[in-house]
Symmetry: C2
Subunit: 477 residues, 2 copies
């Protein structure tokens, strides 16, 4: 196998007689070549990988749509018999069984390569809040890797695996996608079970998928999204095949006064260029005042939802506070003093914001925002770890609080060569609709895949899309 | 006008030429005859009532389905220009405008008579936690009136008004219905706007309707249930006309081990007799373990939802704690020490209980429970104000936490002459379906209307009901 791993190229090779054992060795070779101990916290042994490969049975992509596809999982997701650390050695435990979503992916034929680094307890958007060596950004080592799903994003961007699972509460599956020139699919809350996933904010967490292409991200999402009776937050979300986007559609965007790039003119130009691309696809842009979205976003780290993270770590912070990363500890300790009455008042405010934003977006098919407002380097983040992180969440923090799904997709490179990325957002259950649109945007972005240097493959044509008013029919259970 | 006020009898009289001014005088006469200063905290002047009557225009029940119908509202609901006390003089304020639901009822032609007594801040199920004289139970003055919508229930049971608004968070619209032999319709949360209503537990409160008949309760509910853009908790719930119940239906009931009557054998016999009545209507009884419902119920007063009540009263408890009823204060003060982390943990548990109960009831059309497990007298409650109150909520406290609608309806009198009452419960949006069934149960109960001594009128026949699998189609927005 040469070139990036994608499901179509691997399946074509398998169909032509390639053995999955050969892909295993190619994965291990690429891993070694990447020469970055910060990406994986654990890699399966070659023997274990070969055992997985030989257990697949004959190549059968109809029965197993991910047959022989190498993937990684963020190390806050359980793999049976392996250690889950959440990037906190003192927290580590050996998982008895695979997380529900990992089991689903394995059942679909995917081969688990290993577990990736992260911002400890998935608290952060930078990828540097880890006691282990941080992964290097795949496209520019002076930049942060982005987080919290840092290792998963870098593993995908470097072409070591075809896709990787992240998690996304505040943007942890989208921000690192933007930092590494890849796709980040953040499903509707509850679409993928959280059974076997270390909670960050239990009510707002979702497993996410990082991949080089929208098709691969969506394929993995489809395999992982299964109702789970054991997870009280699990929901049945439609995961039908993608169809082409409608000939015209309405896209909400932040109005000029609401756009925020913290002085990064390249990022602003990149976003405006991406919007022109959206328009060429038939998008009718509708400018919105983003004030209610930003007010919502602030609730996540400045309001009582921090107490939700505190609830997870209360015992550990009491027993061995020094075991928690100092920046993480500083943030989460604030949750200790928040009262239930504070939280009720915040819930009321959120309910009002939900209503206001739902009303403002009722006639829209989706929103389009920059995935990140700007890039920060490793050094800039070290100088101001909390402020830079907060700014990175500008366009991501509100999404789960408002029960929206999202997908971050690469757009044309910025003038300075850094990756461009926008995120499409829509209300719960419309994952397929925004993925279909993201696919078209990606196809026209003229960008390369992650840090592999390879061009985007020609994607297979889809059946023609439904009319704009038909794509409302996603099921939310 | 003689006999109980119901909409059909009053409208027949109006159609025959009766003037609404005559009804106003009849209301004032009945009020005086009741000789109970505890029912109303405020009554409109005769001049004001006559002005309302003359402003109605010609009799037109098609345009105004409540034309000339006298009603009362619990004094935690605003009436423009009048004082809202929530039964706490120190809390009192003059409302600038009618609550959204009061305005809707007036627009439908109803005549507002006055404002009724309640358990202070709608916290209680007994009707005795008020600094004013408590209303006397309408059927037996040794019994508590039931609460917290005590005055509204007694005003209806005595035939002073045709219907009255209550509120219902833990059972405040159902328990007093059972105590006074009337109907208590507790809508789906959000069906009736809470704009202009003093919050108890803001996320779990609903305005409710007390009436002598199901038809009248449902008619008032239909007029009051309107989406309100100002209320973040407002939802669009279908309020179509009632149709007859299906020929057969499945009703969940507590199994023998789950039934709890605290030693009241008469109440147990009454419930079992009511179940036989349900069976004669085509009901297929399905016994359920009620443990998850009871665990949910306990969260309301023993868990962090008490902090929701505390959030309302925090300032008052700091400034003038003695202004709050001592029993109410004792309960609500417990909310002070509950943390946001406690609340998140309780929310997770509730989510799991929601899932478990939804799964256990998925194939059922409704649940049927006793409205109250037993009766307590005024003296028994004085001796143990918290314990008796908690037991009264056995079959009501879980309902709003699980987002169910409910209707309490009289059943045949108990052997000792006290009223029988069952409550039908269903998931959000099925208000019409359970009202249709309650109507049939009431018609066959052989009971009298409230404390009026009058027989139940022959109800108008309805169009035949849909099949069992069609009554699923309630819309929840």
């Amino acid at each position: 196998v040469t070139g990036p791993f994608t499901v179509p190229t691997l399946h074509a090779a398998y169909a032509a007689g390639l053995a999955p054992e050969a892909v295993v060795d190619e994965v291990l070779g690429r891993l070694k070549e990447a020469d970055d101990d910060g990406i994986f916290l654990y890699v399966e042994s070659r023997a274990s990988l070969l055992a997985q490969a030989s257990a697949l049975g004959p190549f059968d992509p109809a029965a197993k749509p991910l047959w022989g596809i190498p993937f990684a999982v963020k190390d806050n997701i359980d793999v049976g018999g392996r250690t889950t650390t959440a990037a906190c050695p003192a927290y580590a435990y050996t998982a008895e069984r695979d997380a529900f979503c990992v089991a689903a992916l394995r059942a679909a034929g995917a081969i688990l390569i290993g577990k990736t680094n992260l911002d400890q307890f998935a608290t952060g958007l930078v990828g540097l809040r880890t006691p282990f060596p941080a992964p290097r950004n795949a496209v520019d080592p002076s930049l942060a890797p982005g987080g919290s799903s840092s290792g998963s994003a870098v593993a995908v961007a470097r072409g070591i695996v075809a896709f990787a699972l992240g998690t996304d509460t505040a943007g942890s599956g989208r921000v690192p996608a933007a930092y590494n020139n890849i796709v980040g699919l953040k499903p509707t809350l509850g679409a993928i079970s959280s059974t076997g996933v270390v909670p960050a904010c239990r009510s707002l967490d979702t497993v996410s998928v990082l991949a080089l292409t929208v098709d691969d991200a969506y394929l993995a999402y489809r395999a992982a999204a299964r109702p789970d009776p054991e997870d009280a937050y699990s929901r049945s979300i439609a995961t039908g095949p993608l169809s082409g986007p409608p000939p015209s559609f309405r896209i909400g965007v932040p109005d000029a006064a609401s756009r925020e790039f913290f002085g990064d003119a390249d990022q602003e130009r990149s976003f405006l260029e991406a919007l022109r691309l959206v328009e060429t696809l038939g998008g009718d842009l509708v400018e919105l005042d983003f004030a209610p979205f930003y007010e919502t976003a602030q609730m996540l780290y400045e309001g009582p939802w921090v107490a939700e993270r505190f609830a997870v770590l209360e015992d550990m912070l009491a027993a061995q506070p020094e075991a928690v990363h100092p920046v993480t500890r500083e943030i989460i300790e604030k949750g200790r003093d928040m009262s239930a009455a504070d939280l009720f008042r915040a819930i009321y405010r959120l309910k009002a914001l939900e209503k206001a934003t739902a009303s403002a977006t009722a006639s829209l098919d989706a929103l389009c925002v920059p995935t990140i407002p700007t890039f920060y380097t490793v050094d800039e983040i070290a100088a101001d770890p909390v402020g830079t992180n907060a700014r990175l969440g500008t366009y991501t923090n509100f999404v789960n609080l408002l029960d929206m799904c999202g997908i971050a997709v690469p757009t044309p490179l910025r003038a300075d060569g850094r990756p461009g990325s926008i995120t499409l957002l829509a209300r719960a259950g419309r994952d397929a609709a925004i993925a279909a649109l993201a696919r078209e945007i990606h196809a026209r972005s003229g960008t390369t895949l992650g840090a592999t240097g390879a061009s985007l493959p020609q994607a297979a044509p889809l059946s023609s899309g439904p009319a704009a008013d038909e794509i409302e029919l996603a099921v939310v259970g």
